[in-house]
Amino acid sequence: MSKKTAVQIDDLTVAYNYKPVLWDIDLEIPEGVLMAIVGPNGAGKSTLIKSVLGILKPIAGSVSIYGKSYEKQRSLVAYVPQKGSVDWDFPTTALDVVMMGTYGSLGWVKRPRQKEKKAALEALEQVGMLPFKNRQISQLSGGQQQRIFLARALVQDASIYFMDEPFQGVDATTEIAIINILKALRKANKTVIVVHHDLQTVPEYFDWVTFLNVKKIATGPVKDIFNDDNLTKTYGINYKVSIQK
């Protein structure tokens, strides 16, 4: 494979109060993969994403997006945070939340206009949430809220998507709807990086996987490295999954 590298992480170490949660991570994510990041609770999966996006400051190491620093490549990257990270009682509508995805390209002070609204409506349509555009966000089900978050990332029209547990607390229909959108993104040669919890679905959903537990355990194509050996190394216990490949 002579694919371009979308995300390059070198010697990344992140600590909370001097306790490392990520230790010397080297990771190269090729363009156009749909990659799962798996690992136990506290393995630093969310921390890894947040450090790449400049939300957390690493104590060592560097990250580059297509060879340049994240600050220079912001417009190429979209982010779906964990659903639980925001207050869904916030007084706003589904459409307004999706519009927030356009704020990055607008920059400071400038207000969203008709063009941004149109893009947001299209993204809502894409995730099947157009009928709910004017609904207050607390009046949406968990699955619908997750779709709104996905639409907000889609509206950024990025090259690389980082998603923090997009399948958490969603019903089966939404999960299928989301994974279909992610696969469509991959088809369009976008790179999608997903923090994922359900090991059973990794081979079905993803073509690339990274095992993480404070340190990087392994990274590569699912068909080559998604095995009991790596699972055991990552999760500590003698891990046996009988997954159909």
């Binding site: 947040k50 982010y79 925001v86 007084p91 607008l106 207000r111 207050q136």
Partner: protein
């Protein structure tokens, strides 16, 4: 109405607007307590400024006090960051310490001046018209009016410029950071505005009312709307309404203006809390009662659906079978009849086609938690409004 009365109401209203704007964001950021901390801990800033300038309306006073406000926020965050105490404890540690430093400084050095602890806590709105601003000998109005007016203009300008950024970083700080809108800058910007507003309003309404004017209108508005812009407008409206009606209540009762405004604010919140259409206490209790009845209805319909044998569906036996009290059973049967979901023929209850469909659909929803098909039913039944 005398011009002094008009000026007092105008000052109170401008203070209310200037407070409602940062207050709305403080409430949404769950930082209401920080305004309490700021309002008290800016006292040493005011005192030091007063010692330097000997003028309570000097801009230096506002700068120093606002600085103390921001220092308060930083101190609270630093203490919290150690992980040894929680945020509310950190707030409780910082502001009494700073406030008491201010109190001691006043007691030691400023016994003979206008600056006293009573004025600090409750303000002297009634005296505001006496302190005039003279520009080359011409009286242009009370100084307080000009101070709070200037602060308000700046606050509104900042709100217009950075509304989008404020909204985004309040709702989702993570996304704001990843898009390059530093939530830290916005956070401290908001804290600075809150501090400056507090100082500007301080002289007029005092440390306690400033908190009430920041938090109460916003908290009331929060219960009434699901739109951030409307919430801002409602907060402003509630603030101004309380300011003006509070003034007249004080006038009639010959009582403290600040106290009356705060009382009106409290009553206003109580009314909203009780009667708000969807989030109010009464609406919530009504909804819960409805939901209870509807769950009973569903249980009842399901029982009918599951039992074809007639003895299970006889009106007189239903109570025993479902184990309900008489009144509840009657309410449920009446509700089902009213909605054409059952028919009663010779004391035997049967599901109608509509009742049968409804039951299947509802059970399906509860099992699959699939929302799409339930949309039409939502208007009729509270049960699915979740």
């Amino acid at each position: 109405m005398s011009s002094a009365q008009l000026e007092i109401q105008l000052i109170a209203s401008l203070v209310a607007i200037a407070c409602a704007i940062p207050g709305t964001f403080l409430v949404l950021r769950k930082m209401a307590m920080i305004s309490d901390a700021i309002s008290h801990s800016i006292l040493p800033g005011i005192v030091v400024g007063f010692f330097i300038t000997q003028d309570l309306n000097s801009p230096l006073l506002i700068v120093l006090a606002a600085l103390t406000g921001v220092i308060t926020v930083v101190l609270v965050e630093q203490i919290q960051k150690t992980g040894l105490v929680k945020e509310d404890t950190a707030i409780g540690l910082v502001f009494p310490a700073l406030f008491s430093i201010g109190v001691i400084m006043i007691a030691k050095n400023a016994n003979d001046v206008h600056l006293d602890v009573d004025a600090v806590l409750l303000g002297e709105l009634a005296f505001a018209p006496f302190d005039r601003l003279l520009i080359s000998g011409v009286d242009v109005g009370p100084k307080s009016l000009w101070i709070i007016g200037s602060i308000l203009v700046i606050t509104v300008a900042l709100l217009f410029a950075f509304f989008k950024e404020l909204k985004l970083s309040t709702f989702d700080a993570g996304l704001a950071a990843s898009l390059g809108f530093s939530p830290v800058i916005i956070h401290y910007g908001l804290m600075t505005v809150a501090s400056v507003t507090t100082v500007g309003a301080f002289d007029a309404v005092g440390a306690i009312l400033v908190v009430a004017l920041m938090i109460t209108p916003a908290a009331s508005a929060y219960l009434l709307t699901t739109d951030l812009k409307k919430m801002l407008f409602l907060s402003i409206f509630f603030g101004v309404f309380s300011a003006i009606s509070g003034y007249w209540v004080a006038h009639w009762l010959d009582a403290s203006i600040a106290g009356s405004i705060t009382t009106i604010l409290g009553l206003l919140f109580l009314v909203v809390y009780l009667f708000a259409p969807s989030k109010g206490l009464i609406a919530v209790m009504y909804r819960e009662k409805q939901q209870k009845i509807e769950v009973s209805l569903l249980t009842f319909l399901l029982h009918l659906k599951n039992h074809t044998e007639e003895n299970e569906r006889h009106v007189n036996h239903l109570r025993e079978h479902i184990n309900w009290q008489k009144i509840r059973a009657k309410t449920v049967v009446d509700l089902a009849l009213k909605n054409n979901m059952i028919t009663i023929d010779k004391h035997i209850v049967s599901l109608t086609e509509k009742g049968d469909d409804f039951t299947s659909q509802a059970i399906d929803y509860i099992i699959t938690n699939e929302d799409a098909q339930i949309e039409d039913m939502k208007d009729d039944f509270f049960l699915f409004r979740g």
